[in-house]
Symmetry: C2
């Protein structure tokens, strides 16, 4: 299977094709991210918009890496932590984040959601490169061709995470799926002769198994990020009610919807206006569509928190962020099984297509 | 490359993988549909919601087929016309349509947009099969897993056209892209043991070149339908202004939008409520978002018609239905070139992925 030599050089423990786990807020903590890297993928820790819990997560990740036969030699030899960190740049504190990166030297820093793209990301990219002497690679998530060009020209990232409309959780309210976005980004960079030999494209949004992976490679990506699939992993830090809802939901294109209501009921109001989030349709959404005020909707959400695991579901109110691939996720698996299955299935598909 | 033996048996002139052209209203007339089949694809004539012009289109198609070295022997030997017809079932007259099918015996009848799915399609499927003794194959366009299961169980179609959210023109207002929809439909049919050996899946929505085709095959489809790509074919019956706008537009995920406004300004008000259409953002859309009444918006549209080719564009009002793949369409080509390019590129990708 075709290899991306930049990815292989930067993350020498990975298998081909690259499977990365998304830095899902509150869920992608040390156990999941290290398990993904341990299995030959690239795990991202969620740094989010409030980086105060990040150091304790990284401490735990360091301990887990030291216990890993696959990862420990790389870490001992390079001092680079074989997991990445994802930041929500509209909220994350730059100074604290850079200090943390300098101290823990993650293999990658993933930027997403700045107030202004690419301008607000310039100091992030510069400082990350300075404090780790370029060892921490720069990943930037984009959702349009214009964003891809602007980021590529301004920052020369190592990886562009090309996120399509099927993705769960946050993304652009208005975008194409990876079916057209990945090829159009690829063409646009090539046409402008922008470092196409050094910027790898990684697809995100709707990839939940080897079929999505093989499709991503066919579209021109070097690998794929999966979020929803890892929500149903054993290592995800996720409430049982949330995980059960991910396993239950099907027909992802109609059972999920893009909306800002799931932020509003939780009082998260600082995302730049161009973003919303895809979640499974529940009572918060239905009530909002029917005209309920945010104040009342939020109060009902707060009450629902008392129900614990019973607070998730189509007739409940706790948020189930998930992508349209949710219907392809029907089994709780270990991260290692997920990654092995995706790689094997993608390879089988490519072999069969050739026949 | 993997073949679908049902498709090969039913349409013996096709090349692998199957490229079908969408039955785009007013645009997919005899020259385009016959050119597509002549090139080894499967061309669909637009029957639409008003089938009164259909017979004259079919007369022209018959004449063109008789002049085709590739198609004439099949037509002479079987009496089956090697082009299909697409119907918008919420409007098309059943009796007239069946009489036309009996007379011209197209190789396929494609159903889309019934008021009730699958119930309103039962008489269509039954009568088509009766009057052509099963020679006219039944294609049904679906946009959710639930629709796919219902249609497969009720009608045993020969082909399910699995349309994702990237598609241009009409489709479900709420849906996934083919990235998740094709595999989830495939799994859902297999799980219910519904004729998976006799129902072929053909992907639609966002496929504009060999990358989209190779991705469709990886996702589990046996071929792909292209609409937007054929808008920029030499044989499309399309205004120069419309075609130029398709060639100009880029960044399809943000330059296009799903909306009902493009129907409303043209006084087309009978589509079932679950559908809308994807078109390039223009003044009709912007004004509607800013609160202009449909009446005023429609009056401005009517005025714009006088501008002819200058009536298309982001600062104009005539409708440019197109999918998110519009940014991949940068060159006017003959249908035969489009098809040859797609097949060649898909084969090259699959070969390269295997290396």
């Amino acid at each position: 299977m075709s290899q991306d030599s930049n990815l292989q050089a930067d993350y020498p423990w990975i298998k081909t094709p690259l499977v990365a786990s998304a830095p899902m807020l509150n869920i992608a903590t040390a156990p999941l991210s290290v398990a993904v890297s341990e299995a030959g993928g690239l795990g991202f820790l969620a740094g989010g918009f409030d980086v105060s819990p990040l150091e304790s997560n990284l401490e735990e990740a360091v301990q887990l890496v030291k216990q890993s036969t696959r990862l420990e030699p790389f870490y001992a030899g390079t001092g680079i932590l074989p997991v990445g960190i994802g930041f929500l740049n509209w909220g994350a504190d730059l100074t604290k984040s850079i200090a943390t990166i300098e101290k823990y030297r993650p293999c990658a820093a993933w930027f997403f959601g700045p107030k202004s793209i690419p301008d607000d990301l310039r100091p992030w990219a510069e400082k990350v490169r300075t404090v780790t002497d370029g060892k921490t690679k720069i990943w930037v998530q984009i959702g349009t061709v214009a964003e891809a060009i602007a980021v590529a020209e301004a920052l020369s990232p190592d990886v562009l995470v090309v996120q399509g409309s099927d993705a769960g959780g946050h993304g652009l309210a208005q975008s194409a799926s990876i079916v057209t976005l990945v090829p159009e980004v690829k063409d646009a960079l090539a046409k402008r002769q922008i470092k196409t030999d050094t910027i790898s494209l990684v697809a995100a949004g709707g990839i939940a198994d080897g079929r999505g992976m093989a499709a991503s490679l066919a579209l021109g990506a070097s690998g794929a990020v999966m979020g929803t699939r890892f929500l149903a992993s054993s290592e995800a830090k996720i409430a049982r009610g949330y995980q059960d809802e991910v396993l239950r939901a099907s027909d992802g294109g109609t059972s999920s919807v893009r909306s800002t209501v799931y932020d509003r009921v939780r009082g998260i109001l600082s995302w730049p206006a161009r973003y919303d989030g895809r979640g499974i349709i529940n009572k918060s959404y239905i009530d909002a569509v029917n005209g309920m005020s945010d104040e009342e909707n939020r109060a009902l959400y707060e009450e629902e928190l008392r129900k614990g695991d019973l607070g998730w579901g189509p007739d409940a109110r706790l948020t189930t962020y998930a992508g349209t691939g949710v219907g392809l996720v029907n089994e709780r698996l270990r991260a290692a099984e997920i990654i092995a299955n995706v790689i094997q299935e993608a390879q089988d598909i490519i072999r069969r297509l050739k026949e």
